[in-house]
Symmetry: C2
Subunit: 255 residues, 2 copies
Amino acid sequence: MMGAPLGRLLLVPNGLDLGTETEVDLSDVLPKAVLETSARTEHWVVENAKTARAFLKRVDRLVPLTRPLQALSICELPRPRKGSSANETPDLAPLLAPARAGHDVGLLSEAGLPAVADPGAALVQAAHTLGLTVLPMSGPSSLMLALAGSGLNGQNFAFVGYLPVEHATRAARIRELDQWSRRQQQTQIAIETPYRNAALVSALLEHLAPTTLLCIASGLTLPQGQCRCMAVSSWRAKPPIIGDKLPAVFLWLGT
Amino acid sequence: MMGAPLGRLLLVPNGLDLGTETEVDLSDVLPKAVLETSARTEHWVVENAKTARAFLKRVDRLVPLTRPLQALSICELPRPRKGSSANETPDLAPLLAPARAGHDVGLLSEAGLPAVADPGAALVQAAHTLGLTVLPMSGPSSLMLALAGSGLNGQNFAFVGYLPVEHATRAARIRELDQWSRRQQQTQIAIETPYRNAALVSALLEHLAPTTLLCIASGLTLPQGQCRCMAVSSWRAKPPIIGDKLPAVFLWLGT
């Protein structure tokens, strides 16, 4: 017996302005095709239902939604347990039931690409296990925009996520990653919760070697966005002021 | 004495269809604002002048160029020496002379984001040294699309570039990266020249552990694009057929 064709899991990018008090025109950061596909998609699995509805309202202003927002199915991803790894898969198959019934399902996070420095990987794994087509769609990745903008090594790099918050542990981790970066000539990329940006900058300026090149990229794609790269010794002479509401990316390369 | 305001270095993304015999509509992969900015930019530094002109012709069909193509200044980046690192900076300042005279300069590679797995980082460094504003613009990154589509760990990952071509060295490198990935729970991302895709797949299936999860993502953003992730043991039972003209990204995570 032949079933209906399966729906796909669409990986839908979001803008990068979450929590910044600035609203970027989505057509500045997303291709038209992504806006059109989003406007047609009726089944969503999202990091946060409230911000997903805000995204869909912004899409609607550019490309009218096929069905009214209230008629769409919007399910939240289960909250990831702290320290869980991408290959622990709770039973997410029910979230993909619409795809098994022939409807595309959109996966959306609060900012940027889903499942990159964001939840969603387990759902993508579940889709692969079910034999669904997974379709990643073009959109902004703050990590890659910052990497391109840094001028640091883009042929070899690692994203290490968040650094430890506790002072001594963080200092040790920064020194370890600085040495690793220098030895491997591998750019290291880290992020921080915006209200801790200033504390992380202080720690990086204290514990990275003076010759290490450090890039601080904040508010990328926003009018107030900045992307500066210089040696740690130069940053120390002219410490940056970085907003506590702007998402920022920190990159360094030991020289 | 006040000088004229400086121009910026714009990091302009390209589509991902280079060499694939498929031409994607650029509005499927680039935001309208990127097309508009590209149409206005008169000074370019590019990986390849011929493909840059092809890009600008495609832009022109969507947003007419402000000045005719022949009137634009298009300079090629110096070819990177094999094994040179991102922080060796030959004198690239002359390429940025238009920015010092107040004009924006667009940096464009043959596919995707400039300076990510592509040349251009040294020019970005030179721009920072000259105090120019560096503006990375939203567009497709095949590495991040593949990472999102893999369902592998997107909280900790490394891009390791090309693997060695020589058999024994490549086998050793694959085993080393497999173990590292398992120990660190860090997704490894590699690329290959398309005509060597099949050889790399064979080597990965031979040398990765059977339980390692392997994602093969080819032709992303193209109609014939594919993104599949499963255990190496499952791939061995059903080896993939992968085009020798399609750009592909290979990702794995030891479990």
